[in-house]
Subunit: 146 residues, 2 copies
Amino acid sequence: MTGENRPPPGASSNALPRLGELELAVMEVLWRHPASSTQQVQARLPQARRNSLSTLQSTLERLHRKGLLGRERERQAYLYRARVSRSELLGRLLGGVISQLHDGSLDPILASFVDFAENIDDSTLDRLDELLQARLRARDAGGCDD
Amino acid sequence: MTGENRPPPGASSNALPRLGELELAVMEVLWRHPASSTQQVQARLPQARRNSLSTLQSTLERLHRKGLLGRERERQAYLYRARVSRSELLGRLLGGVISQLHDGSLDPILASFVDFAENIDDSTLDRLDELLQARLRARDAGGCDD
DNA sequence: CCGAAAACCGATCGTGGATCGGTGGTCGCG
DNA sequence: CGCGACCACCGATCCACGATCGGTTTTCGG
């Protein structure tokens, strides 16, 4: 029983399913060392995470499928490089979480984040303010500068 | 609502493994209708999510184990109620993501969020600014807002 | 005490990450 | 040209977790 195929009622579009530990560690390496071969990555991984090349390959492949890594062939090997910066990844992850919880208006979410920042440390709030002001200035000044 | 949600400052080591679809839907219901029995929850779930009571029970139980729901016995049945508000949950989720990606300094994270806000809509940035200013004012004025 | 309504228990499935060994293709060098 | 090294590729497990449910036991009200 219960062996029927059950189409998922709500397929999230852009929320990447969450990254595993090894995947994260790999991203860290790739951020620090752009364009590394599988072996390079392995060598630069923290000792605790050093395992067989195959494992690494699967992980790199998965990351590649998820669009987080690009790769090009260097002779018989691949050179991997991060396609998203740490900030971009964070934004994506944040976006995933938020789109799950978002109930129409963004306000509660923004409020939550401010809340979160405040909860960490009082100075964090000021820092956030600084960054935000800078961003607002940049927008008002240049408008379309990219 | 800003100012009511206060995650305990000591118990910040919570990285809940991520919520599933049904779990989220259940939380939505419990947020809208505090203290509902399993049946109540089932009745108020979107039609698409209505399934057997057992399924609901497992989900409520799991949520309870995760600390997101509290429950008390009402005769032979349980009354469930949300222990975290939507904002708190969001904060927790955000915290989980952030602690994964956080490499020491918060700045990139804050920047990412500002980035994220800007990316949604220009007005969002202004909204964030308003909220932040309000919060700063509140802090500078009262100090301890209890 | 009996029947209904819950909780409780455990089985099964699907997905996704981690892990690895074996196989086969590619390249450099003798 | 052939051989050995290197590496990608494939498939096989394993595990954790959410979703799903049916069957059994507990509990309560009449």
